[in-house]
């Protein structure tokens, strides 16, 4: 197990290197002088020359790459042209809202979707099943921003129960933090609940047809335990896979939600950086997201070995 983990961690290195090369080339392959791009439309020649030497752009490409890579290993992601701040600091400040939102959303999703899907599978064909599946079609069809605005209108404007927008750091009080995150995570979770509930239903249905379910019943096991002990755990591998993938999509897709609810997270930072053509920030954000994806994939694979003893690496 340990050697497997180590191997997998080592295997992330080439992946991350590949991403780094891509990100590095992103700037260098853009038509025109990177220094000019970084400097922006209104810079004069002296400024451009200064940027060029500061970034080492006058050196050959491989040397530039190694220098850039070396800096990043020391935590130096460069300076944001737009914010005039270290990119590392910038991202660190934005990480908390994004991670808070994503984690809360995925927890909410799993708590709702897995029981719903299991129930739908167990009562296959009943009104309950049809109701849950109907909801899931609806969840797929509604865009996040529509759900977001509806929720804001109902719960914040009409009922006044929850704040409209904004974010409060968790260090400033868990209550306020949670209160401000409820609406965005509900809005975000709808589509994932729909997706994961469907996946759970399919997976559990398949397992319920297995011989060992019949064996459990032949032992005199109660239906609830047949479902919990025998069915759900065996159905878990595909479910966990989509949960992991959903989480990855979530982190990448918080852009819209953060805009709607005005959360100062990575999504908003990405939007701002793109609009401002702030290349150092864009590079760092892409690298970070890639790294998170690689980690999530690793976590999914490791969870397989915990869920199913037949899977050993």
């Amino acid at each position: 197990m340990f050697s497997y983990l180590l191997r997998r961690l080592l295997a992330t290195i080439p992946v991350m290197l590949l991403v780094a090369v891509f990100v590095f080339m992103l700037l260098r392959l853009t038509p025109g002088d990177p220094a000019a791009i970084i400097a922006g439309d209104y810079a004069n020649d002296a400024q451009i020359a200064e940027i060029r030497s500061k970034l080492g752009l006058d050196k050959p490409l491989p040397v530039q790459f190694m220098v850039w890579l070396g800096n990043m290993f020391q935590g130096d992601f460069g300076e944001s042209f737009f914010y005039k701040k270290q990119v590392g600091e910038l991202i660190a400040a934005r990480l908390e809202p994004t991670l808070s939102l994503s984690l809360l959303t995925i927890i909410l999703t799993v708590c709702i979707a897995v029981p719903l899907g299991t129930l739908a599978a167990y009562r296959q064909g009943s009104w309950l099943d049809r109701g849950i599946m109907g909801f899931s079609v609806l969840g797929f069809s509604l865009p996040v921003f529509v759900i977001g605005y509806i929720l804001i209108y109902v719960f914040s404007i009409q009922l006044g129960w929850l704040p409209v927008q904004g974010y409060q750091r968790i260090s400033d009080g868990v209550g306020g933090w949670l209160l401000r995150l409820i609406l965005p995570s509900v809005a975000l979770s709808v589509i994932f609940v729909a997706f994961i509930a469907r996946m759970t239903r399919t997976s559990v249905l398949e397992v319920l047809g297995e011989d060992y379910i019949r064996t459990a019943r032949a032992k005199g096991q109660t239906e609830s335990k047949v479902l919990m002990h025998h069915a759900v755990r065996n159905a878990a591998v595909p479910i966990v896979t989509v949960i992991g993938l959903s989480f990855a999509i979530l982190i990448g897709g918080v852009v819209v939600t953060e805009s709607v609810f005005n959360l100062p997270g990575l999504g908003l930072l990405t939007v701002e950086a793109v609009l401002a053509r702030d290349f150092p920030t864009i590079q760092a954000v892409i690298l970070l997201f890639s790294f998170i994806y690689v980690l999530i994939n690793l976590a999914i694979d490791v969870s397989y070995t915990l869920l199913d003893p037949r899977i050993r690496y």
């Binding site: 011989d211 060992y212 032949a218 032992k219 005199g220 025998h230 199913d308 003893p309």
Partner: protein, 540 residues
């Protein structure tokens, strides 16, 4: 005073849903199981034998409803029992073991926990006492090192060991009735012999009444005290073992018994035709040696030499994992041999690259075990039959005409070409698979367990068809089977394989009458029902 029957099935009728092919799955059936007695319910697929067992256990699928009769478990009608009462009875007074030990155990739970689950449901024993009981019962079904095995997962055990776990699980609370639904069908013949012995031992030692469901008359002969013969949901014949096996009264029973191939091979004239295919030093090694991964290597076939003459049937027999299918698949080049030569008319196709292999593909055709899965369900029979000939350049019209002729040759109507696979029975589908193989006029026909999934009466017909076709087209046939009865009847020569190695070969008659290798003797001895005569002696 006679002891109370463990099970009395009285006039049981289970109705099928409206759109089924007959109104009832089982109709008005009655029989009894006494304590310490093994009653075998025997019949072909669709006879209603498994439905009967499920009805007793209260495990019928919701589409099936018992509509009349009663199933008395020690006098208590399980058909009328409430779901709660049924749960109490299951595991304590009646228990069941199933066909597939590979799938009947929960793959993600330790086997010991699965045994102690029964105790957890029905007793107040503490966790440590449950574990102790689990180990005891595992010991009594002769599992090696139960102290250690109790913490194993099912996939770490062999098929026979898993079935022992199932039996341990069923017997841990000493039920009065044990229902065994084809418990040895998925097992190798030597393992089957051990499991049958174990069931008999348990039943004798504990006085359990056993309802044993099987399609295999050999197993029946081995284990039954009394026999219930079922056909299309009705009891055809019911009586003591010797009465039914030695003096069957009903024509259906007689037909079934005659269909079981005899263990005595008929006399066959040695074939002297040219060698259609010759294999030498064939090796197939599975496994990989990759970056940072450990080497896991299996020799699925080691230095296999064989040849098949025109018009000859060569049988390869062996248990699962013996490499017999690997050899067949290498010869058909469905998998690539690791080394060795496969000579087809002087051309070595063993190492030919895929691009140059194509013209030779049509010469070697294969018929697989499962007719339900080897035809594409979304294509008509006609489409499946003409696909290969058209690929090899035969005009569509001509291919269709040949397909019609072939359908008639295999005993089906030429008009059936427009139909889909699901509209045919298993036996018919296997005939279609044979027609498909013949469509490209092969020189070598490989039958890989081609009759193993079929009922005995259908099996007999398909065997006859295969023999017929071999004769008519002067085909070289490679017949892969685990069934020694089938092999005895159809093969001219025989190869016995074990763990990828040929341990014995020779003319079928000689191998059966004078086996040289110990493993061959073991296989022959394990074949169930050797003391009862089956089949007609006129078999070709």
């Amino acid at each position: 005073m006679e002891k109370q029957n463990v099970l009395e099935v009285r006039n049981l009728t289970v109705s099928l849903p409206r759109n089924a092919d007959r109104p009832n799955a089982v109709e008005n059936i009655s029989f009894t199981v006494a304590p310490g007695e093994i009653v075998c319910v025997v019949g072909e697929s669709g006879s209603g034998k498994s439905v009967t067992a499920s009805a007793v256990m209260g495990l019928l699928p919701s589409a099936l409803n018992p509509s009349a009769g009663e199933t008395l478990l020690q006098g208590e009608d399980t058909l009328k029992a409430s779901p709660n009462r049924l749960r109490d009875l299951r595991g304590t007074r009646m228990a069941m073991i199933f066909q597939e030990p590979m799938t009947a155990l929960n793959p993600v739970t330790r086997v010991g926990d699965q045994i102690s689950e029964v105790l957890e449901i029905h007793t107040d024993l503490s966790a440590s006492e449950r574990r102790k009981r689990a180990i005891e019962i595992m010991e009594s079904v002769h599992l090696p090192d139960p102290e250690k095995m109790v913490d194993s997962f099912p996939h770490q055990l062999s098929g026979g060991q898993r079935q022992r776990i199932m039996i341990a699980m069923a017997l841990v609370l000493d039920p009065a009735l044990l229902i065994a639904d084809e418990p040895t069908t998925a097992l190798d013949v030597t393992t089957q012999a051990q499991i049958l012995k174990l069931i008999k031992e348990m039943q004798e030692r504990r006085g359990t009444g056993v309802l044993f469901i099987t399609h295999d008359f050999g197993v029946v002969a081995e284990i039954a005290d009394r026999i219930v013969v079922m056909q299309n949901g009705r009891v055809v014949e019911y009586g003591d073992r010797d009465d039914v096996l030695r003096r069957p009264k009903q024509p259906y029973t007689q037909m079934l018994m005659a269909s079981v191939p005899s263990m005595t091979p008929p006399d066959r004239v040695p074939r002297t035709g040219d060698k259609a295919i010759e294999v030498s030093n064939l090796n197939k090694i599975y496994g990989r040696t990759g970056w940072l991964s450990k080497d896991r290597i299996v020799h699925a076939a080691s230095d296999v030499d064989l040849f098949v003459r025109k018009g000859e049937t060569l049988g390869i027999v062996g248990e699962s994992g013996s490499g017999k299918s690997t050899v067949a698949r290498c010869i058909a080049r469905l998998i690539d041999p690791t080394s060795g030569s496969i000579s087809l008319h002087g051309t070595d196709i063993g190492t030919l690259p895929q691009s140059r292999l194509r013209p030779h593909r049509r010469k070697v055709q294969i018929v697989f075990q499962d007719p339900y899965r080897s035809l594409n369900p979304r294509r008509t029979i006609g489409q499946s039959l003409i696909e290969a000939p058209v690929n090899f350049g035969v005009p569509v019209e001509q291919a269709r005409k040949t397909a019609r002729d072939l359908m008639e040759l295999v005993g089906l109507s030429g008009d059936a070409l427009e139909r889909y696979p699901h509209q045919f029975s298993g036996g018919q589908r296997q005939r279609i698979c044979i027609a498909r193989a013949l469509a490209v006029e092969p020189e070598v026909l490989i039958a890989d367990e081609a009759v193993s999934a079929l009922d005995v009466s259908v099996q007999a017909q398909v065997l006859e068809l295969l023999d017929d076709i071999r004769e008519r087209y002067d085909l070289a046939m490679l017949f892969i089977t685990h069934d020694l009865r089938v092999a005895a009847q159809i093969c001219d020569r025989l190869i016995v394989m074990k763990k990828g190695v040929i341990v014995e070969q020779g003319p079928t008659k000689k191998v059966y009458s004078d086996p040289q290798h110990e493993y061959t003797r073991l296989l022959l001895d394990a074949a169930p029902g050797r003391d009862v005569t089956f089949g007609s002696d006129t078999a070709a």
